[in-house]
C-alpha cells in the first residue's frame, strides 16, 4: 500500500513561522495606529451580490435558511462603522467558491481595514507604508487604470468602442478568439487586465492602479470631478493582485441601486440570484461615516515576501489536504 502523505502540511514549518511573524507585524501596525481589531461572523444570513463572486453556503440542522460563508467581511464591518466603531481592521478567513489554482485557494486569509475620514489617497499612502514595514516592499508606482491600459495596450478603456477594444485585443494570439467573440465591454477590459496587462507587470515593483471605470465601481464612490471613474484602487505586487480598496460609497439609495445593478448583471451572465443584504442597507440609511477601506490577501502578501509562486506553499493545509 502506498503511504498517504496528505496528512503533512502544504507549507514548511519554516514558512509557517514566517506566517506567524507576519500576523504579529500586521497586528502591531494597527495597534500602533489605534485601529481596533474586530472579528465579524464568517457564517451569515446574506452573501454578496457581486456578479463575479460566489458564496459557499451551509445551513443549521433545524433550519432551512441557507447561511453564507463570507467572501469578505465588508458588509459586517460597515455595519460596525455605522454603529460608531471608528477605525477597524480584521484579519480572518474568507471563502470563495470556484476559485482554485496556483494563486487561489477557496479558503484564504484576508486583511481588511477601514479608516474613518480617510480619502482614497490617504488610504493608499497607508497601504504603501504597511507594505514597506511588513514585507520591506519598495516604493510603488501609481497610475490610473486608463493610463495603464493606454500604456500597455494603446487602448482607452473609457472612450474606445467595443469594436475598437475587440480589434486591439485581437492582436494578442492567446486571447484573439475570445476577444473577437466577446461583446461585453467590462469582460473585454477584464480580459485585457488579467491576461495581458497583469502578466506584463514587474513583480518586484508594487503598482497602485486607481480610478477604475464607473462600471467596475463595486462599492466605491464615483469621482465627483469625473463621473466616468470610481474612487477605487488596486495594488499589484509579486506579479498578482494583492489588494482592492475604495473610498466607500456611503449613500444608501446609491448602494441599493448598485445591488440592483449587480442582480441584473448576474441574471445577464446566467448566475444564480443573490439577495441584497438588508442589514447593510439599513446601516447605510442610519449613516456610514465618510471612510476608505481596503481588502488585502494575506497569503499573497506572504507569497510576495518569500518570493514563492504558489499559494499552497504558504498555507498550513491547502484545500486538497484540508
Amino acid at each position: 500500500m502506498q503511504r498517504d502523505s496528505t496528512w503533512q502540511p502544504s507549507a514548511t514549518i519554516e514558512v509557517l513561522r514566517e506566517r506567524a511573524a507576519l500576523f504579529a507585524k500586521l497586528r502591531h501596525f494597527f495597534a500602533e495606529r489605534g485601529v481596533m481589531e474586530v472579528d465579524t461572523p464568517v457564517l451569515a444570513h446574506f452573501g454578496v451580490t457581486d456578479p463575479h463572486l460566489s458564496n459557499l453556503t451551509s445551513s443549521l440542522r433545524h433550519d432551512v435558511v441557507p447561511l453564507h460563508l463570507q467572501t469578505s467581511p465588508e458588509y459586517a464591518m460597515k455595519r460596525l462603522l455605522a454603529a460608531g466603531s471608528g477605525c477597524i481592521y480584521q484579519l480572518g478567513k474568507v471563502f470563495r467558491d470556484d476559485e482554485q489554482g496556483p494563486r487561489h485557494n477557496p479558503e484564504f486569509t484576508m486583511l481588511e481595514w477601514y479608516r474613518v475620514g480617510f480619502t482614497m489617497q490617504q488610504l493608499i499612502d497607508e497601504v504603501v507604508e504597511l507594505l514597506r514595514l511588513s514585507v520591506a516592499a519598495p516604493l510603488p508606482r501609481q497610475i490610473t487604470y486608463q493610463q495603464l491600459l493606454y500604456e500597455t495596450l494603446a487602448i482607452d478603456p473609457l472612450a474606445d468602442t467595443v469594436e475598437r477594444l475587440q480589434q486591439s485585443l485581437s492582436a494578442y494570439p492567446s486571447i484573439r478568439e475570445l476577444a473577437q467573440q466577446e461583446t461585453d465591454r467590462d469582460t473585454l477590459l477584464d480580459l485585457a487586465m488579467a491576461c495581458i496587462v497583469e502578466p506584463a507587470m514587474d513583480p518586484q515593483q508594487p503598482l497602485i492602479v486607481t480610478h477604475y471605470p464607473a462600471s467596475q465601481a463595486a462599492l466605491a464612490q464615483l469621482d465627483q470631478s469625473d463621473s466616468r471613474v470610481a474612487l477605487r484602487f488596486e495594488v499589484f505586487y509579486g506579479g498578482y493582485e494583492l489588494a482592492n480598496g475604495y473610498q466607500e460609497l456611503t449613500d444608501a439609495a446609491q448602494q441599493a441601486q448598485r445591488f440592483a445593478q449587480d442582480q441584473r448583471r448576474r441574471a445577464q451572465l446566467g448566475k444564480p440570484a443573490a439577495h441584497a443584504d438588508p442589514r447593510l442597507l439599513a446601516a447605510l440609511t442610519h449613516g456610514l461615516p465618510q471612510c476608505s477601506g481596503v481588502a488585502l490577501g494575506f497569503d499573497r502578501l506572504l507569497m510576495a515576501k518569500l518570493g514563492v509562486a504558489s499559494i499552497e506553499q504558504v498555507l498550513p493545509f491547502a484545500i486538497d489536504r484540508a
Partner: protein, 189 residues
C-alpha cells in the same frame, strides 16, 4: 461527445479546437478580484503536434474530443501503412505516415507502443520510452576511450542517428531513450 465546462479543465483532458482534437497541457484560472474569471490554457494539437495558448471565459463549455490512448504491439510496415496489434484482443489497426511521423525511427517489431485514436482512427503513435536497436553504421572508435568525451554519430537499423561513445561499434545493440533520442547503454546480445 460530451461538452466540458472550464471547471473540468485539467492537464490531459481532450477537447476539440479549430476542428482538431487537442490535449490540455496546462490550465490556469486567472481572475481579477472583482471581475470575470478566465482559464488560460496551453493545448497541444494532437494531429499537428503544435502547442498553442488559448483563453476561455470561466464557466464556458467546449466540445470534448473522442480521443483514447491504447497500447498495441508494432507488427510491420507494408510500405504505406504501419500495422499494430492489440495483444489482448488481437485486433489490428493500420496507422498512416502522418500518424506515425518521426516515431518511425523508433519502431521495433513486437515493441508495445501507445496509439492515440480519434473517433477510432490512429492519429499519433508514441514509442516505448526505451528501445533496443542495432548499429548499422558508425566510424571505428579510438582504443582506450571511455564514455563521456563527446562521442560520435551512429546510424541504427531503423535509420535513426544517435550520438554514442567512441568505443561502441557496428553490429552492437544499444538502448536508446526515445524521449530525448539519447544513448543509454550497450545491450548484451
Amino acid at each position: 461527445m460530451a461538452n466540458y465546462s472550464t471547471n473540468e479543465f485539467k492537464a490531459g483532458l481532450k477537447i476539440m479546437q479549430d476542428g482538431e482534437p487537442c490535449a490540455i497541457v496546462e490550465n490556469e484560472m486567472v481572475k481579477p478580484g472583482k471581475g470575470q474569471a478566465f482559464n488560460r490554457v496551453k493545448i497541444r494539437k494532437l494531429i499537428s503536434g503544435k502547442v498553442v495558448e488559448k483563453t476561455f471565459k470561466s464557466g464556458d463549455s467546449v466540445e470534448g474530443a473522442d480521443v483514447i490512448d491504447i497500447d498495441m504491439a508494432y507488427l510491420y510496415n507494408d510500405g504505406e501503412f504501419w500495422h499494430f496489434m492489440n495483444n489482448d484482443s488481437f485486433e489490428q489497426l493500420a496507422a498512416d505516415a502522418k500518424a506515425v511521423g518521426e516515431t518511425t525511427k523508433w519502431l521495433v517489431e513486437q515493441d508495445v507502443c501507445t496509439l492515440t485514436l480519434w473517433n477510432g482512427n490512429p492519429i499519433a503513435v508514441t514509442p516505448p520510452n526505451f528501445v533496443e536497436l542495432e548499429i548499422t553504421e558508425t566510424d571505428p572508435g579510438l582504443k582506450g576511450d571511455t564514455a563521456g568525451t563527446g562521442g560520435k554519430p551512429a546510424t541504427l537499423s531503423t535509420g535513426a542517428v544517435v550520438r554514442v561513445p567512441l568505443f561502441v561499434q557496428i553490429g552492437e545493440v544499444i538502448k536508446v531513450d526515445t524521449r530525448s533520442g539519447e544513448y543509454v547503454s550497450r545491450v548484451q546480445k
